[in-house]
Subunit: 239 residues, 2 copies
């Protein structure tokens, strides 16, 4: 990357928000109410493990583009069944409410302040696999000051398919080289780099809880490597 | 409309921003430089007159969805030709710069303050025929505090096609009845109402300049009729 980017596009789950704590927090009363003796964090992990396989059906073309709220809801049914609870016996409104826990995740403590600084200099938007309504509800609740809500649903393609990155740049009217993906995940950055994006790595070593073994450090010479969003703003020359 | 809406979707050109003054302001030095003895406001009107016919080719299916930046640029070439200037003789960068005047329109004086009040209570987003990059640049420059950038490009359909309204509601995860279109144009509101949207009319009697003859008053019993965005916020119970 030679010139500074004009737009910063952010991975969201793990990079901006702490999905594991948020899902565990909302799952805990649900699990207790239904007599499921399962650690809420383990439940969050189990639900999240079904995330990539569900999107893979869309990426492969086996299934038309389906927004993440729908995939999350199907995965919730499956993970409940895995733990011996028949979702057909739970009121749909209760399952939908738990499914919307993904709309109510908390940002990492540095995220909002860092984004506000970055926003003064760059276009900032999510480039997430989350759907628009999910990202919008999350932003309203948490105060994430996005300039626009972009990502898989607008691009009609899930990361790491190149279309997810390239269509986002195109919608912004920018060349890929004018866009930087910011993510806590090396594989997401690798896919963005293959599309010509700049890359910014921010480690989130607590994303997967105390036993996290991956994405603890950059695996390529990413254009920027920052400790958190405040450090990212410093390194990108923001006031 | 019985319940209050959850999302307010805004027409933009004319309703939020004063396109005629903005285009005239940026066209004036261009016209002078190229020796075109034409009132800049008349030039803005002539450019705008080609807006609906260009979108009609997309609405009718004669042409695949094409973003407004592209239609504006084609229309610019045509309107220059109409006035005796061959666009092939003008550097493309200069034409592109003038075309981007649509990204730099000023809001009506009440718009930003009104939107900030409305944003505290509702999801606010454009539902404009403008493309994402145009609306995003405009918002950054003018401080329009949108929660998301929606509209024709995201819905892949131009208003007043019903898909433009219905897909926007669907992306928001809302029923049409939970959405209200705010517009200065009776025909836009009529199309939104046919889709089940709530409707808010704000007259902009200077949109077309001193001779404006249409949209000076509501033509149906719209759910809310307001003087400006501050009055709209009052009527919708905002602090």
């Amino acid at each position: 990357m030679t010139a500074p980017p004009r737009a910063l596009l952010f991975d969201v789950f793990g990079t901006v928000v702490d999905w594991r704590s948020g899902i565990a927090r909302e799952a805990a009363p649900f699990l207790a109410r239904h007599g499921l003796r399962l650690d809420p964090h383990a439940f969050a992990d189990a639900w999240r493990r079904r995330y990539q396989p569900a999107m893979e059906a869309v990426r492969s073309g086996a299934r038309p583009f389906t927004r993440l709220d729908t995939l999350h809801r199907e995965n919730l049914d499956a993970v409940l069944r895995d733990h011996g609870l028949d979702p057909a016996g739970v009121p749909a409104a209760e399952l939908d409410a738990l499914n919307h826990a993904w709309h109510r995740l908390d940002p990492w403590p540095d995220a909002v302040a860092g984004l506000l600084r970055l926003k003064a200099r760059f276009v900032i938007a999510p480039l997430s696999n989350g759907n628009v309504a999910l990202l919008l509800d999350m932003a309203k609740r948490a105060g994430l000051p996005w300039d626009a809500i972009l990502g898989a649903e607008v691009a009609q393609a899930y990361k790491p398919r190149p279309e997810a990155y390239l269509r986002t740049a195109e919608i912004l009217g920018l060349a890929p080289a004018d866009c930087m993906l910011v993510a806590a995940h090396n594989d997401d950055l690798a896919a963005a780099r293959r599309c010509g994006f700049g890359t910014g790595f921010v480690a989130r070593p607590a994303e997967y809880g105390p036993g996290q073994a991956k994405d603890l450090a950059p695996e390529q010479d990413w254009d920027v490597v920052a400790r958190d969003f405040g450090d990212l703003a410093d390194r990108l020359g923001c006031d």
